[in-house]
């Protein structure tokens, strides 16, 4: 146990994290280079389209890491993480809407187009402050964090566990979806928020901004990954696993299981919020369908596919599934659901530990230095 004194620095000593960060940063640099310095017609040129696409994958990867943190290490199968993702996205979307200013269709200096359209005469109170970037960015963390705090406090306090917890997380996101669909809510209803112009003064419709967002997402993923890894490698991480595997035992050891769960759950929700916030400017729209329970289930599928309780597996899963989706929806538009559905079935049946399980098998001879054989058992 050659652990660092500081819990946040600990992950940097793990081989898996070093490898992960290495791969991630190499990818960022390579893509940036290929995008900027390769001529347009070169075979190696990475177009702005691809950059944005990769940026989107990285957002999903961060979201998957957040889900893996609670599912893999805490044993809480959240079928409502899309809600936190969407809330972060909406916070960012509101900022971007306010940035449009009087350039909207109706030229109203304050009200977004959809409000003019629906005859709102003033900005609702919860839209105040979103014209300031710092406020919006705090809300990106705070909105999902607070929701997770309240929801988690209620749920964990009364020891709602297992499938009951999963189902009420689903109920949560479903209720939010219905609420955000309502035009009276003031979030643009089904159309959501769209037609963004710029972020922090940079025009969103230029390739440079796209590249910047892609890099920012990569860095956010790296930070998110390190934070999760740090939690997992700390004693708290081991307590989390303890809560997951034998909740009562942990409680009798004197740990307040519900607080451990709450802490990790809130951290995870905030990470999901950040992922959502980075997602919105890259895809250009946020609408209530991100709250859809099916989307939340899909996130879980990415994690399972990549390999639960490994963190990097979640990243692989998210990128792989979404890449497959991009390819299949273009190549075989009529039949891609067969491929995707089949993939889910095959992986769960034949690769119970996901893709990470496959990788681990290959590395079995060289176990991780600090946690000998743990990951195998947790998958």
């Amino acid at each position: 146990m050659a652990s660092s004194q500081n819990w946040l620095l600990r992950p940097f000593q793990e081989r898996s994290t070093q490898l992960f960060l290495g791969v991630l940063f190499t990818a960022l640099v390579v893509v940036t280079f290929l995008h900027l310095f390769m001529p347009q017609d070169s075979a190696l040129h990475v177009s702005a389209y691809t950059v944005t696409l990769l940026g989107k994958y990285l957002c999903y990867a961060l979201l998957a890491v957040a889900v893996d943190l609670v599912w893999g290490y805490l044993g809480i199968l959240s079928l409502g993480h899309g809600a936190f993702f969407a809330l972060g996205g909406y916070a960012m979307g509101m900022y971007l809407m306010r940035q449009i200013g009087d350039r909207g269709t109706y030229g109203d200096p304050v009200l977004p187009d959809f409000m003019v359209f629906l005859n709102w005469d003033s900005l609702p109170w919860y839209w105040q402050g979103f014209d300031m970037a710092w406020f919006a960015f705090i809300m990106v963390l705070l909105a999902p964090g607070l929701l997770a705090l309240v929801f988690g406090f209620l749920a964990f306090r009364s020891r709602v566990t297992g499938v009951y917890l999963s189902i009420i997380t689903q109920a949560l996101t479903f209720a939010l979806m219905l609420a955000f669909f309502r035009n009276e809510m003031g979030f643009g209803g089904n159309n959501g928020l769209t037609d963004f112009r710029d972020i922090l003064g940079f025009n969103l419709r230029t390739d440079a901004t796209r590249l910047g967002l892609f890099i920012a997402t990569g860095i956010a993923l790296a930070i998110g990954y390190v934070i999760c890894r740090a939690i997992v490698a700390s004693k708290l991480g081991r307590v989390s696993i303890a809560c997951r595997d034998a909740e009562a035992r942990t409680r009798f050891l004197g740990y307040r299981v519900e607080r451990v769960q709450l802490f990790v759950f809130v951290v995870s929700a905030m990470l999901a919020g950040v992922a959502g916030a980075l997602y919105v400017p890259q895809v250009g729209i946020i609408n209530p369908s991100e709250f859809s329970p099916l989307f939340s289930i899909e996130i879980v599928v990415w994690v399972a596919l990549g390999g639960r309780a490994t963190l990097y597996g979640a990243v692989i899963g998210a990128i792989l599934v979404n890449y497959a989706k991009t390819v299949f929806t273009g190549v075989m538009p009529d039949a891609w659901l067969f491929a995707l559905g089949g993939l889910f079935v095959l992986v769960t049946v034949f690769l119970p530990k996901g893709i990470a399980g496959l990788l681990q098998k290959r590395h079995k001879t060289k176990p991780d230095d600090d946690t000998p054989t743990r990951q195998e058992a947790t998958a």
Partner: protein
Amino acid sequence: MTIKKHVKLGLSALALSVSLNAMAAEDPIKVGILHSLSGTMAISETVLKDTVEMLIEKQNAEGGVLGRQLEAVVVDPASDWPLFAEKARELLAKEKVDVIFGNWTSVSRKSVLPVVEELNGLLFYPVQYEGEESSENVFYTGAAPNQQAIPAVNYLMNEIGVERWVLAGTDYVYPRTTNKILETYLMDQGVAKDDIMINYTPFGHSDWQNIVSDIKRFGSAGKKTAVVSTINGDANVPFYRELGNQGISASDIPVVAFSVGEQELSGIDTGPLVGHLAAWNYFMSVDSDANYDFIDQWVAHTGDEEAVTNDPMEAHYIGFNMYIEAVKKAGTTDVDAVKDAIIGVSVPNLTGGYAAMMPNHHITKPVLIGEIQDNGQFSVVWETPSTVAGDAWSDFLPGSKDLIADWRKPMSCGTFNTKTGSCGASAGEMAAADE
């Protein structure tokens, strides 16, 4: 190590596929089709994909255009709105298509809009919509509210003598806007506020018991009552079933729907619905040779004797032919040239008349009111004496009554304010970005 290798392989594969496609032969004219083939909207959108494919086939059989063949590029945005934007970008940036036919829902159009504008593409949008939009790069071949809702209400008011109105819709922007326009319009016509009931339901709403019972009650006030329905797609079947079962017949309280066409009726037992109404710009039962030919062609294409046609299909038919004409006129598929050439192009529609592209990128259409028959078809009971030009900005909304759109040079503006005589901010910026 292996991870790194995999990622690198993946990345270079991606890069390779991108560039390979870019190098593909420039020869055929590429037509992008952006309709959901899976997810909730597949119900409505798949036939539109088939329609465009059929039109392309036919055009190719006739020798293509400008001596070039057309080639369909189909992608599936899977009823996922951000995916619409991504796929639009894929079509324009990666596949380099010359034109896109696509979208159904407003939200998907809103999602695609910035992409099409940024990459200067062409989009033909075939569905009736809420208006309040005019983009340089989008051609709206479906009905604007003044081409559907207002004539329908006029018909009910003048021919049936309706005095009391239920505006029922799914809670999204099209019903909201339409109902807003109608509310203003009805009140201008002297209808009291008490005589208008507005109700919104979520997508896919399936339990209509309470609402239908409310409508029944609302209708027993002694004034002729009608329901103006902007209920979307799937929710209609349970709605009409409940109407039938609670014994509301068309002669008591007629329902006029703006989103129910032949395609939707093909999922309903129309027996109990005979006499309820729909307002469209085309019905499959329209008695014209162009229509019969189109139906024959469609039946042959699908191989299904029972296959039905509907209004958005006609919109694509018109849009596609307009595009072909514009390309011929411009002599090139260059987007800017086609954009300029298409204004004023006039092609036959399926109801026996002609549709012309207006400077605001909307087209002229006749408005038809049809009654549902027991064979799942509509019989036309009324139509406008001449075609109506689509109005991008409604005259009945306070924010937009002074706005017009005109994309002819030198004005080239989607939001020209006739009061201030200046072009709105958004278009100004767009024009600046173009230079």
